[in-house]
Subunit: 390 residues, 2 copies
């Protein structure tokens, strides 16, 4: 058995950054920017008023000054003339500041009578003008890689970037294996259970920015497994669930080896999730997850998520562990790293009493994984422990 | 002007929980469960082995005992006979425990010779059997409302729930207004800028579980605004951006009133984002956001997100403010609640120097909003302030 860290390091050697594709801006949210993109214009593209008011020369800004209004500049409709001495132009927020003017007196400081205005209150020193290029200039970049947020999308729009280079979504094939499985909605026989792992993993993997395909269930025979692996072709990552243990009926490793798997490791010293294998299989990375539902989901979070992030070109440093205080004691841990299902409440945490790797109800109630290193000693209430949020 | 809290309270009166719809399980991740759903079966549906080993009577578990193997129980293939005294059944993880057996000795504790096994090591007291219904029983529920996580999806699958009742996605119509706007990819004239707010808001609103539609840009005239409002019909929430200020060219409020808007408030004491109006407009809620890009996005986070959560039936209590320590001082705040773009690093925070509401580059660099109450006094380095993560 190898450690979780060693397994992660080996998994990272199985994947590399995928190629880029262009998508319309409206579909780019949540995708990973593949290359720095440059602004195609200055923003604002002209000196613009930040307020509703009157544009004039700053040298004429003085309380009780009277000026003549010679025109209007609205957003989208610039005033084309020059502002001379003793003159002002009515201006609205976002409108171009006319030539000759370098100050906007806000309308609250003005009294108007026909074409004449009086500066009623002494204006502040703020010119209320946004300089051309104040937000960004032509050629300013939004730098890759980054997961595009709503604010990034707004910024790209204002840069006039209508098509965005993003890393294509990793194609992930999910194969659950076992004669005991039926699909949700089917009528299981007395010895059968519902295939749940592929559904949970697809939800997790899709949320990470990949695209998971649930393949037909592979039965516990060579022909069925071969068919499933053939259907997985084209995937960047092939994940099997179940059948990676040492049971006599676990054929996954044998069939995968026949089909070209170069196994890089088998079994990781962790709970839940001990049976886990990985390697390169022709053009794809291949990972065999354990069949217990909680094990499969936790291996998904600990191992599959970093692989997908690596394919997307994102930082794949181990996730930062957070700290919380125990509200209930823990017994000593065994030789395997233990990811205990736990409930975090502010800065306090407690592990659930029931840690059986078959309990999906407990996993669905948990909001954190409390992490115990191998041979971690017993811990008392009040001690500080590591966790990952779920 | 009204306070942020008063505005939020009034906005909540404009919306109510939407109706449910059924979706296939595979599309249910991230959706909001609309009604409690019940397990259609026990899990496990039979007493199941948690390990690979041998099933026998617990009364016969003793070191050096020799038993005869009379058959095999694999996942999906139960052993149909009875386990009698002196007998054992080879069993694999997940397989039904045969009748007559109530204990599984793990294979690591067994030596086998043909049909005979010897219990080589003294087994632990753990029976290695998962009782029928150990995870959940028929009728156990997953309770609404909740945003369905990957673990929830796995749980629903194992409950054999193939179709899931979820709240339908709110339909949100986004109308940007202004003669100065063109769409990304267009060639703007010298007085024009790119419409960015609708793109940023759509990304934000879609990520919240709604479906936003970007309507054609409405120009600064009555006919164009009427057309846009007509295109918005059927929406649960109509959002206009820009044109809600007091400028002479801001027709949005007038046209909306002609079309039936019952305005509930106008202007909120906040920065950025002062011009903001809201009301009921026929069958929809209507909110008018300010046109400055940063104002529009922050109003989206502070006001639109809770409205969408309310329509989805989620808890709409004000978001919990988090605390961080200032690394740079702040000057005294004015009469409006200020949402300052800020950079959070662990437990430390600093506001950006440039807080102009037109700066999308600053918003895209920020990861938190530092919140100042009206008239909050000057703050020194080291003081604790409130923030919301972005």
């Amino acid at each position: 058995m190898i450690t979780v860290d060693d397994a992660l390091a080996q998994l990272m050697t199985l994947v590399s950054v995928l190629e880029a594709e262009d998508v319309p801006l409206i579909e780019a949210a949540g995708r990973v920017l593949a290359a720095d993109v440059s602004a195609r214009r200055d923003q604002p593209p002209f000196a613009a008023s930040a307020m509703d008011g009157y544009a004039l020369k700053s040298t004429e800004v003085e309380q009780h000054s009277i000026l003549k209004v010679i025109g209007e500049s609205a957003a989208g409709h610039r005033f084309d003339g020059q502002v001379g001495p003793g003159q002002a132009v009515r201006i609205f927020t976002g409108a171009p500041v006319p030539e000759g003017a370098d100050f906007v007196v806000i309308q609250e400081d003005i009294t108007r009578n026909g074409d004449l205005i009086t500066i009623a209150n002494a204006p502040s020193s703020n010119s209320n003008i946004r300089a051309k290029g104040n937000d960004f200039a032509i050629g300013s970049t939004l730098d890759a890689p980054r997961v595009l947020t709503p604010s990034d999308i707004a910024l790209l729009a204002s840069m006039n970037v209508a098509t965005v280079p993003v890393i294509r979504r990793p194609d992930v094939a999910l194969i659950s294996t076992g004669d005991e499985l039926v699909m949700p909605g089917d009528t299981p026989g007395p010895d059968q259970i519902i295939a749940s792992n592929t559904f949970g993993l697809k939800a997790m993997i899709d949320a990470l920015g990949a695209h998971a395909r649930i393949l037909p269930i592979a039965r516990d025979n060579t022909a069925s497994l071969r068919t499933a692996f053939k259907l997985a072709r084209g995937a960047d990552l092939v994940i099997t669930i179940g059948g990676a243990s040492v049971g006599d009926h676990d054929l996954v490793g044998k069939v995968a080896a026949d089909l070209g798997l170069e196994q890089s490791f088998y079994k990781v010293a962790m709970r839940p999730g001990k049976p886990l294998m990985a390697g390169r299989m022709n053009e794809a990375a291949m990972v065999g997850l354990p069949g217990n539902p909680v094990s499969a989901m936790i291996c998904g979070k600990i191992f599959i998520a970093p692989m997908i992030e690596a394919m997307l070109g994102l930082d794949t440093n181990a996730p930062t562990l957070l700290k919380a205080q125990l509200t209930e004691p823990l017994t000593a841990n065994g030789p395997r790293q233990h990811y205990m299902r736990a409930l975090l409440d502010g800065s306090e945490i407690r592990a659930f009493d029931r840690q059986d790797s078959a309990l999906l109800t407990v996993l669905a109630s948990a909001n954190a994984l409390l992490i115990r290193a191998p041979f971690d000693p017993a811990r008392k209430t009040g001690e500080i422990v590591d966790y990952l949020p779920l």
